[in-house]
Amino acid sequence: MNFKKYLLYIPLILAFPLLTAFADEVDCEDEDFLDECAEVIDGYKFLKANTISIEDGGEVEYKSVFSKGSTYMLTACNGGSGLMKVTLYDRDKKKVMSNLIQNQYYPSITYPCNATGVYYLKYEFTAGSGCGVGIIGFKK
């Protein structure tokens, strides 16, 4: 058996975990990453991109004014292995909806708005740290 032939593959095998680790790391501020994430809102008009960076089970909150008569699409797009959860709250900070419904995860959800007002969007990761982008799209 020619072991020399297999020796050639060793560096590749050793490098594999390193390569996949880099593949998991995403630059969430990168425009290409954002452009890719924005493709999800096809059919909706782009309103805002909330960039998220969370460490150790924290959360980030943004607020936006939503208008009556528009339907909003909320997306959660992130690199790495975790899931980014987005929860929508109304002006009284009462929960309206989230993209984690009965343990089922949805990368995007829609909300037909009947009340103009300030809405709060809370972003968090289901486990640990991570970064991502939450895009808000709308249509009349």
Binding site: K45, V65, K68, P112, G117
Partner: protein, 175 residues
């Protein structure tokens, strides 16, 4: 103007070419321009020039309300009337932002104008009714959500006062 504000780099050849390529696609144009504004805003924040970012935001809002009131003058209708009234919500948020710049000399004209506008909008009423409804939140996925309905009460006389106040504010900035 962009160069004077030292944000000329956001109006580069690449962005302009991208806009030209997408000239017939309104969704793409909106995406490119909105992203450009976000980048500018982030840049100004990092540079410690939040006052310029705030002025850009305020200018955009004033122009939007000015256009809405101009349309109402020529074609008055319920929908645009409601949109003008609903600006009460945005104005309340703007006033919070404005408080951070009350001590700045270059904000005095704009603050005076916004204070006048706030007085007009304080008379505009917004009502909310809450209900829990089942809603399709993702394709084929239904969820019970808290949904509320809003109504705005604004009279033609109030619209007229908003129009006059916003025109005065806009003129003072331009002059």
């Amino acid at each position: 103007m962009a160069n004077d504000l030292k944000i000329g780099q956001f109006f580069d050849i690449k962005t302009i070419s991208r806009m030209q390529e997408n000239a017939n696609n309104m969704d793409s144009l909106l995406y490119i321009s909105q992203r450009g504004f976000e980048q500018m805003s982030n840049y100004l924040e990092k540079q410690g020039r939040t006052d310029v970012g705030a002025q850009l935001l305020l200018g955009g809002w004033i122009e939007g309300v000015y256009l809405a009131t101009s349309v109402y003058k020529t074609e008055p209708n319920e929908r645009i009337m409601e949109t003008i009234g609903e600006q009460k919500v945005a104005l309340d948020e703007i006033m919070v932002l404005m408080d951070a710049f009350r001590g700045k000399r270059n904000f005095q004209t704009i603050i005076k104008g916004f204070d006048n506008l706030k007085k007009v909008y304080d008379e505009v009423e917004m009502e909310y009714v809450k209900e829990e409804v089942e809603m399709e939140v993702a394709p084929g996925v239904f969820q019970k959500v808290v949904n509320s309905k809003s109504t705005v009460k604004i009279s033609p006389e109030q619209i007229e006062t908003v129009t006059e106040t916003i025109e005065e504010l806009r003129a003072n900035i331009i002059d």
